[in-house]
Amino acid sequence: MPLWDWGYAFEVLPQLLKALLVTLEITLLGSVVALLLGLLIAVLRQARIPVLDQLLWAFVEFVRSTPLLVQVFFLYFALPRFGITLSALTVGVIGLGVHYATYTSEVYRAGIEAVPRGQWEAAVALSLSRSRTWTGVILPQAIPRVLPALGNYVISMFKEVPLLLAISVVEVVSKAQEIGSQTFRFTEPFTIAGLLFLVLSYPASMLVRRLERRRVA
């Protein structure tokens, strides 16, 4: 048996590519959750509403200080006991999305705090509404400068999707494992799975780096 069998590699590639679509789907949906929820948390926290602010702070700290795996297990195995049953895919999207939302909220917060106070004051002096101040003045200045950091979190999330094999989501790595355990040949599927991540992550991080350079320039 050769160390690397090209024929076998090409045979398993289509299945892995199909599983990659699931990985991408979870990444995409998870990113939407992370980017929107993170923004919501950051904006709400900026308002410093008593009680709500402490609750959000506690939530963010809790989520950041516990392993993603535990959170995913909780959503998948414990929630049904409270009458909430979610599909593995949904748990994946919510689990990753909420987990990363706590990180993106800190990124947004940094971006919001970097907008000079004078911008808020000018908005007051022009009687702009609170919501228009956010959407027209603050966020258009805050978000562009944190895009690279947000992009990096999306890439991290993409690489964390395989964790969901713990709740039997069929993404690339669990597919590779499944194929390997059927044929007892793990080298090709795992190598390909790794390469697929590399082929997507590397250009994505190059893109983020270019974005960073453009911000500095």
């Binding site: 004051e121 007051v124 002096a125 009687s127 702009l128 509404s129 609170r130």
Partner: protein
Amino acid sequence: MSPEPMIVFDGVEKRFGDHVVLRDLDFTVAPGEHVCLIGPSGSGKTTILRLLMTLERVDAGSIRVGGQCLSHMERKGAMVPADEKHFREVRKRIGMVFQQFNLFPNMTVRGNLIEAPTRVLGLSADEANARAVELLELVGLAEKIDAHPTQLSGGQQQRVAIARALAMRPDVLLLDEVTSALDPELVAGVLNLLRDLGSSTDITFLCVTHEMGFARDFSDRVLMFDAGQVIEDAPPSKLFSDPDHQRTKDFLHAVIDRT
């Protein structure tokens, strides 16, 4: 009998922590009057503008603008400190120009000028645009309408900021050291623009300034501040040539020697 004043400060006190910035401050400004506030740094001048713009809240006393109470509102027959909604209502009559211009860098000059008229006053895009064009002509920057603020000099940015405040047709315009952040050669252009505005409009002006020459020929009245109180209130002809108080004399000596 004189008409109702445009601005009334009645026993206003403002503290930041233990530090009392304004204490028991009373003064009034008549409609259309041009009043300059002078005095050493930290004497509370800028705080007065910030209170009027509702960027700060009074700790005691009250402020009225155009016959309306700014600092307080009526609720169930009693006067209570104003909430955000009340502020939003009354501050529409007031405009402010800042030391650091504070133009919105994510918008063009046009965007800066039409933002509030369309969003707050409900003007159509065409009306707001016409107003923007007219105001930019007034401040001499018609050709910069599609420029971004970062492409403009400090003096140009400040003229745009003045136009932006005027686009809201305010009754009261607050000027907070509007030339302090400018290169010396750009100061005269902005001050001349303000002199023109002062003579061609009936806006009530309240300016904090360190430009004594401007204060002398722009204002109807000058208020000399020290330690959160008005220590002298006189027309510029009197205050600059024959001030009553030693503190005013010392201050004027210090600033005029410096320049």
